[in-house]
Symmetry: D2
Subunit: 388 residues, 4 copies
Amino acid sequence: MQKIRMGMVGGGQGAFIGAVHRMAANLDGQIELVCGAFSSTAERSKQSGRALFLDDSRCYSSYQEMFEVESKLPADKRMQLVAIVTPNHLHFPVAKMAIEHGFHVMSDKPATFTLEEALALEEILNAHDVLYGLTHTYTGYPMVKEAKALINAGKIGKVRKIVVEYPQGWLAEAPDQSNKQAIWRLDPKQAGISCCMGDIGVHAANLAEYVSSLEIIELCADLVATVENRELDDDGTVLLKFNNGARGVLMASQISVGEENNLKIRVYGETGGLEWSQQEPNSLILKDLHEPNQILRAGIGQQSELATANMRTPAGHPEGYLEAFANIYRNFAQQIRAFEEKQTPDEIAQDVPGIKEAVRGMAFIENVVAASQSNEKWHTFSIAPTNK
Amino acid sequence: MQKIRMGMVGGGQGAFIGAVHRMAANLDGQIELVCGAFSSTAERSKQSGRALFLDDSRCYSSYQEMFEVESKLPADKRMQLVAIVTPNHLHFPVAKMAIEHGFHVMSDKPATFTLEEALALEEILNAHDVLYGLTHTYTGYPMVKEAKALINAGKIGKVRKIVVEYPQGWLAEAPDQSNKQAIWRLDPKQAGISCCMGDIGVHAANLAEYVSSLEIIELCADLVATVENRELDDDGTVLLKFNNGARGVLMASQISVGEENNLKIRVYGETGGLEWSQQEPNSLILKDLHEPNQILRAGIGQQSELATANMRTPAGHPEGYLEAFANIYRNFAQQIRAFEEKQTPDEIAQDVPGIKEAVRGMAFIENVVAASQSNEKWHTFSIAPTNK
Amino acid sequence: MQKIRMGMVGGGQGAFIGAVHRMAANLDGQIELVCGAFSSTAERSKQSGRALFLDDSRCYSSYQEMFEVESKLPADKRMQLVAIVTPNHLHFPVAKMAIEHGFHVMSDKPATFTLEEALALEEILNAHDVLYGLTHTYTGYPMVKEAKALINAGKIGKVRKIVVEYPQGWLAEAPDQSNKQAIWRLDPKQAGISCCMGDIGVHAANLAEYVSSLEIIELCADLVATVENRELDDDGTVLLKFNNGARGVLMASQISVGEENNLKIRVYGETGGLEWSQQEPNSLILKDLHEPNQILRAGIGQQSELATANMRTPAGHPEGYLEAFANIYRNFAQQIRAFEEKQTPDEIAQDVPGIKEAVRGMAFIENVVAASQSNEKWHTFSIAPTNK
Amino acid sequence: MQKIRMGMVGGGQGAFIGAVHRMAANLDGQIELVCGAFSSTAERSKQSGRALFLDDSRCYSSYQEMFEVESKLPADKRMQLVAIVTPNHLHFPVAKMAIEHGFHVMSDKPATFTLEEALALEEILNAHDVLYGLTHTYTGYPMVKEAKALINAGKIGKVRKIVVEYPQGWLAEAPDQSNKQAIWRLDPKQAGISCCMGDIGVHAANLAEYVSSLEIIELCADLVATVENRELDDDGTVLLKFNNGARGVLMASQISVGEENNLKIRVYGETGGLEWSQQEPNSLILKDLHEPNQILRAGIGQQSELATANMRTPAGHPEGYLEAFANIYRNFAQQIRAFEEKQTPDEIAQDVPGIKEAVRGMAFIENVVAASQSNEKWHTFSIAPTNK
């Protein structure tokens, strides 16, 4: 048996998210980086590759070249999986070509630039026999999975209300031109129709649906561009209705001064409640109608298989963001192994965000922008592209 | 000099909030309970009064009798101030008669049953030379006052966003008939047009306006009656616009299982942020664009006069709900003393919720209900009664 | 029925702890301040009394005068109870004279200046039919009482280990001469043989014995005078052995920069653990061998009578230091009523620190100083005075 | 340039700490596992190796065989570094043979079985030109490094007091025979002369010395075997004196029911204080004499190079135990690269626990046991072996 061989598009020296993908893929020793199209020039791609201990021959100057060349390598040598860590507008064309050349895809989020592309991607995947994963990292945390398992097991009764919030403060000022992370997110040409909702609101929506196993069906939104001269939203609040009748509130903000990456979810059911916060991810508070609240901690007491299979250390040895990210890679690697052995992946391996989440995520972004522009209170969540 | 002499309407044995008012009035030794119309029968009123060490002659069978009799007692003996702790629908007639008999009033909230009554009360007060206070308790906390003072001093820059939430869980189930606190709040005849917003949402709105020194001008609301067979809301979320352009979110809930009385406010400005939570009231988190967050603690470092004048113990000796309540009474007692000496009360004595807050609170309740019933997204906050 | 009539020795204008005693006595409306010897001159005593709305005739220039005069007043008018809030070296003579004149005593801690005095006080009390209370405030908190009740009920099994810590930072620097609270505590003539252990270590020892219902039998101590030119300890750690074989650690410090009044206790038994912190007094963490930890909150779920009888507000309405202090006064007032009616006080009324705690507290101070001076590791806790 | 090639002794299937070492070595992609002597039989070693994608030819049946064979492989293929993750009693002989064959060593802690062995290891290292690292994991956390840097920069003034505690609860009961982790730690033949101090107390001592840059010079200890029939300590408290005159308290416990791995350190200086807790490792509380406490957070504001070089993710993306562990491996890998290039490693690369910490750790264990057995209060910390 060999490690899964992975290539990467994007992620050259200085890029942040590419390094995160590589660490996540490295952690469990199941995946080996074998090639990459790290930059748009041959030389810079090679430079990046050397720092990753790759041979120059596997460092390509374009993703097109990489897919062409790698697909002709011997089966036991060629890349099996490609990680896409480019700017957003390239996610779709890279994924499309990868799929058409028979490579499995792990894409950074958001899946595509528009909902229309996401739907097209879904069609392409339906027509090809490859696997697709999407790094909605936050659902990779064990205690998020425990929350989902508890709700599925009826621990808090029928869900009535979900409050999900994602405040950050890093865009509270106009950014320097040197701050590339900020500049592209605020540029409609690179980021699409939303900054705040596209970048982090979509994570919050995904988290709410994942944990509750519910779907958003209506929304009412107020998105604002708080800082002067911004074309895109940097803050927004969304009222939600879910398909079981539950209500919800989604808050996302990039102008909440002093907040880091404070994603937090609270779910209230008929008989209990759950609260989880990304900045203290190893705890999950379980609330009760009449009894004291409990602090569920990763690794303490009886916990679901879904959660425990995604823990690496004993209780009290905190796991963090990279471990959550690595869970997505490890579970996807298991999916690939099952695929290659023509077996059905187990529940744990299947628990990876995929094309369904890609489509719903892009639909969320387009629906929330449309809802914000409307004078009517409620907007029906639709997965038909609004820009057609 | 003598203690301020106080009477009470309502608050007989077994009633909760009357006892709270008495403890709050007692704490600083500035006020003396001298009489009461504690219950609707003479005997039960006397029984309650005896347990409070009152003479039978000062325990009345009705508030009408009390105001009549007390107003004819010698000036150095008669009640100066009446605390109104009856069910809501009596707040207005009791306050009206008290004012007309020349007694100062401290009313439990909400001030009246309808906005129309609140506006009528305002007119009555304008025509009489007495003082009126309203127990919006939460603004009595020192660190809430510190937050207000910091914002007024420009510490966080122009306010951009306010998130205020008030989750409770005690109405998550249909209550027993023995639970009188729950039964009347859910009954439109006793509670008015709203349960959740009328009981706690109004506190949250008051806190947001107090801390920020801003006013709500538009709102978008989604109120729900979550538990079966309820006529009134037990949960709701409101999007807010403030008069300086800031946005806000107000969440109030009585069905958030496992939450006690978790009022919390976050205010974000251009250069800083503030966060305060009622269940840990002696801390105030100050957030900064670039520097580490600070935990401001009651009594530590240089703090505003507004805050320090409302502290009783050194740092690390926690003060709580009753002390916040007592601040309202103590400051109001100072107002009365200034009034009697025909002096202008100082800033601290003036810092008591009054008729303006009474009117805005009732207006909030009526506006939020109207907004929730509307299909349009935004509803203009109006202080003209909506039910006229 | 009348309020209990209380006099006060000490506590003139500007004194801190006298005001705390008065607020604590006021809160529940069971006790009325009727007289005082607030200062050592007649005029200043009267001035202080007037601010408390007392008649000049009840403001005395000395405690001797007060006891003489008050004991001759009619039974329904004279003081029944005296609160002693003088500097430490006067606690004993004032208490002695009060007892000999038939007045009940509520003394600030430490009970006396020396263990010898405490033992003498015990003898005097044995010879007179009056009640004695001591304000070890921290055992007045409801969740401390809940911890005691849970341990007594076997909830955590046999106690094995107690960690009690009391860090403060206010003496980390040499104090200004204007800081009277600091100056006298650091002066052996006024404070006795210990600063840190006498002021706060004794509270920690009392808390450990109260919560566990155990007694310290051996100790090993390291007391230090950290800041230059200090004669008395400002920091110390003590290893403890309890009478059931449990071990303990007691840390007290006045030089722990940035700490306010951070008294905290953890008790570990065979099957569970408990953790309580004075700065968040409404929570008590219950720990379990195999199950998630629970956050017990004042007013939530089934709690002991000992705890609930000492709560005044519903869950989520925080109570603090003054309420804990007031519990001591209220329970002592009930003791006095039972005494006057020649009845046995109930468990709640009896739950007030008294002469036993006075003696053990003074013994703790003397033993811990002796232990620190010894070169042997273990020192046997003895209640024979060490300075005889 | 190639990855550093690592072998492993111990860590076969089912072993916990071996997997942790591998994940830590994997994370940054700087190190490649190339061989191992995972188990004491050839077949089980091969089985473990296959699961790690190793060729059978590099899976050895003994460490002796591994060192012999690997040392004869070509320079660009053979192992450069060996990770020792065996039971404690093998640490010394494996490290000794590795060093003598020219391999760099990364050893799990404690370094050896006795202080005598640690001193012997030091001599061997002095005679050979190889590098030695020791996985005192907790000093790998960025905010621990920030604390050290702040203290070195004088931010809290001269250190006066250190409180370090390490409570766990997992040995509060007699373990099942199936609990191998517990069984060997409680067995003097496998664990040495101490269970609790050898396993976790030594981490606490190391953390205190690392953060403060001070050394323990005297100690007073009370170690106990709490649970029946135990030969070794499962709980203990140690009073400390440091070489600058500062006092300290070290508490370690394995019978503190409900505690996970709650290592926590507080350091108080003349003008400030620091507090860090392993279970929330991304925060560091900075305390001040007069100003509000600050919560320093990984990645926020200006921080030391020592800290920031050991962070991988932006603020609000929590890092945990494995990242701290990985810092040790990454920094050691940089040391090896500098060594091979005959350069001086930079400050970051040098910041890895090594033979000095190995010797002091073993000395701590022997001194603390000796101190506990003594009837004298203070025991001088000595690095001469006590069992000679």
